[in-house]
Symmetry: C2
Subunit: 454 residues, 2 copies
């Protein structure tokens, strides 16, 4: 039976590429209102793709961009898989760095170059094409499927959260499949079982009533530019360990198996330097780079501002200064609690003579998925068959906030089946998606539909 499916996929490769290119031609940039019509067009394209394979689909209007929902006939006594993805894409700036127009997909050396190729149209379309094979061949799909596709992931929209919280029955399922991440590297497929959480803070320091002449008043009143530096410098010690009291209290420590598994991936300093352009690793003492990246909470300045930053010299004591600081959290750390510890500490170490305001801009709970569940085993097997080699377990330093919401509202495990590559230039010029990953992704989903139903 699976051979028939694989044959069908082989025979329809060209058609599948052609359709994906059509999808990628729609400039559905969610954060730019001028593209609202394109957003609608991408939603309709998605909706029609579902109808074309016999699913019941609807475009759900919201206060933001529409959601597209679809489902197969829901048979009793079958497991239900919910697939999540997003049809919107990032803006294309800086446009001058693109080697071909972002919405005119170009194929070169078996790679499609287009905005949305890997993030996320290419990945989500694999599921539709896998299902198509079953439907067109009349092969029974041994699981019920549902799809919820949103159009404002890249714009930080809230609609998917509101919808999930209000419609847990509609989205009820045994597992959620999220394909919006990457393989470990070109040779190594991977399943991610943990995402970091986030507490994103802003510190605003107010000193004098206006910018002062630094000759007249320098050295006589607190300078917010100096103060913000003093505050930031006390948040971590010289080795990068966070100094906020209580910060590490609820950290879920890495177990020996995880450490050994990370170790076996041989992530070298050379690779880190190549990936980042940094001159070497730096971070909390006693941990490897992968442990810091995936398993340890971290704290970083994301932005810093005060006074004059143009050419030449402007001689002022600036009136204000500010910083954006993100903390990446690990399972069991509570973002609200961490935000509070941060705020209290910053207030405590702020010297007299300035006002400080600490704002919690947003947060996300870290995610941990059991590695020994049936669904995880099915995912591992499907990926091994689809990509032709055994996937590794990885964790992610980034956050995918909707994953936490799915876990909380649907009480279902989430399977992060990422089909992209780490260097796919998502959010950057010349985004790409390798055809091999597209085809092997389709195969992986085809296997998963079978294995999950067994």
């Amino acid at each position: 039976m699976i051979d028939k499916i694989l044959n069908y996929l082989e025979e329809n490769k060209d058609q599948h590429v052609k359709e994906l290119c059509e999808y990628l031609s729609i400039p559905s940039i969610s954060s730019i209102p001028a593209h609202d019509n394109d957003i609608m067009e991408a939603a309709r394209f998605t909706h029609k793709a579902f109808e074309a394979i016999g699913l019941t689909s609807e475009i759900i209007e919201t206060d933001g961009h529409p959601l597209v929902y679809a489902q197969s006939e829901q048979l009793p006594d079958r497991k239900t898989l919910l697939f999540y993805g997003h049809y919107d894409v990032q803006p294309v700036d800086p446009i001058e760095l693109w080697e071909s127009p972002p919405f005119e997909p170009r194929i070169e050396n078996e790679i499609i170059y287009a905005r949305g190729g890997s993030d996320d149209k290419g990945q989500l379309y694999t599921h539709i094409k896998a299902l198509e094979a079953y439907v067109k061949l009349g092969v029974d799909v041994p699981v019920n499927v549902k799809f919820i596709i949103e159009g404002e992931e890249e714009a930080g929209g809230e609609e998917i959260y509101k919808f999930t919280e209000s419609n847990p029955e509609k989205l009820a399922c045994d597992a959620v499949i999220v394909s919006d991440t990457s393989l470990y590297n070109e040779e190594t497929p991977a399943i991610c079982y943990s995402l970091k959480g986030l507490a994103y803070m802003q510190i605003d320091v107010k000193g004098p009533g206006m910018d002062l002449h630094s000759g007249s008043f320098g050295g006589t009143v607190q300078n917010p530019g100096n103060v913000i530096c003093e505050i930031i410098s006390r948040l971590k010690d010289g080795s990068g360990r966070v100094q906020i009291p209580g910060f590490y209290d609820s950290v879920l420590e890495l177990d020996d198996a995880e450490k050994a598994s990370f170790e076996s991936l041989n992530y070298s300093d050379e690779v880190l330097c190549k990936d980042t352009g940094a001159s070497g690793p730096f971070g909390e003492e006693g941990f490897t780079t992968l442990e810091r990246m995936w398993g340890r909470p971290t704290l970083d300045v994301n932005g810093l501002w005060s006074g004059y930053s143009g050419e030449g010299a402007k001689t002022i004591v600036p009136a204000t200064a500010g910083a954006k600081v993100s903390m990446r959290l690990v399972p069991n750390q509570n973002p609200e609690q961490i935000a509070e510890l941060f705020s209290k500490f910053v207030e405590k170490i702020t010297p007299d003579g300035v006002e400080v305001k600490v704002s919690y801009l947003h947060g996300a709970q870290a995610v941990m998925v059991p590695r020994d569940s049936e669904m995880m085993q099915a995912g591992m097997k499907a990926m091994e068959l689809g990509f032709g080699s055994k996937p590794v377990f990885i964790r992610e330093g980034g956050s995918i906030p909707i994953v936490g919401t799915f876990q909380d509202c649907l009480k279902a495990p989430v399977l992060l089946l990422g089909y992209g590559l780490p260097n796919d230039n998502i959010h950057s010029p010349n985004e790409k998606f390798h055809l091999r990953n597209y085809f092997d992704g389709i195969k992986t989903t085809a296997y998963l539909l079978k294995l999950a139903g067994e």
Copy 2:
């Protein structure tokens, strides 16, 4: 004889105000090329004002804006006074905060509101009107006078420096009079005998090759935003004392007479808070606010930048960070030497994993004028007679770099006879010049011309 002069000045008040208003109507903004014609017009106005009182005057073309030079007949066996000023003005932004158009002088409650009123057209014009009284009345001026007026003081132009260095004979004199500063306060005229020097630095920190996703790489490589804060925080201790080794080595300490004199000015915390909008004083321990302001070297952040500073959250480890840091220096500190100590210290404390570049953007030597010279005594006396109360000796936290050049190239003492008020809004909207200060300034110069010749 002086009574005749004072009578003339009293009788010609209206005319003198009218002329100043004409001068102030010319929008001679030196830093905006669109105003180049206005600069020329202001130079010509200045030139004609000199000719009208019988001086030999010339407009000296330069690579920048023109200088205006003028001199009386230079008689032997007479002292020579060189008056310095500038006919250019600051830009007017933010224009919406002006209560009347900046180049349509408005008089209200005996105050002229106009750009350039106090800085510096109003002040330099006092000298011309004082001399006019002598000339029109046929009273012998007992000193030789020279004027050098520049047109790019507000644009940081170099021409006045080049000209002074190349023409020390032409500008040769027994004293330079600079009227581009302020009284101590409305009731207290003042002569400034010391200006701070300056070493203005920029620190650039380079980390990863590009902005990195703070989820993917946060906590694994050095973050330039954190590093710049660490560096800045180590430049001063908690009380504001500079930590750069050798920084205080050559400081000319305040003597007891100066400390007592500062003390007698009763500069209170309340006044500091009112002047700055700060909540209280802050600075090097063991010194009063005026001592910090006028007599102690200081270090301040003037600007700070890294990563994202817009609305909301952008989750990046920034590739770069930077800061502008100025050090205000006191007599005997050498700006180049201090810049070198700064650079060495910053390089030493910069952690591994980033590149740091320290640039010395510009500097100025502090200035100290002997308080017991004949010319200083003449200036004190003239000011007491002109303003009707005894002036105090003050120092300035700001730098006037041309003063050091005059001292070095002309080997002549500089007398800082400031006729403005500290709250004249120079460089800000609604710049003003009090008519009382204009008239008393003219009288002061009239007395000085007499006293300096005795």
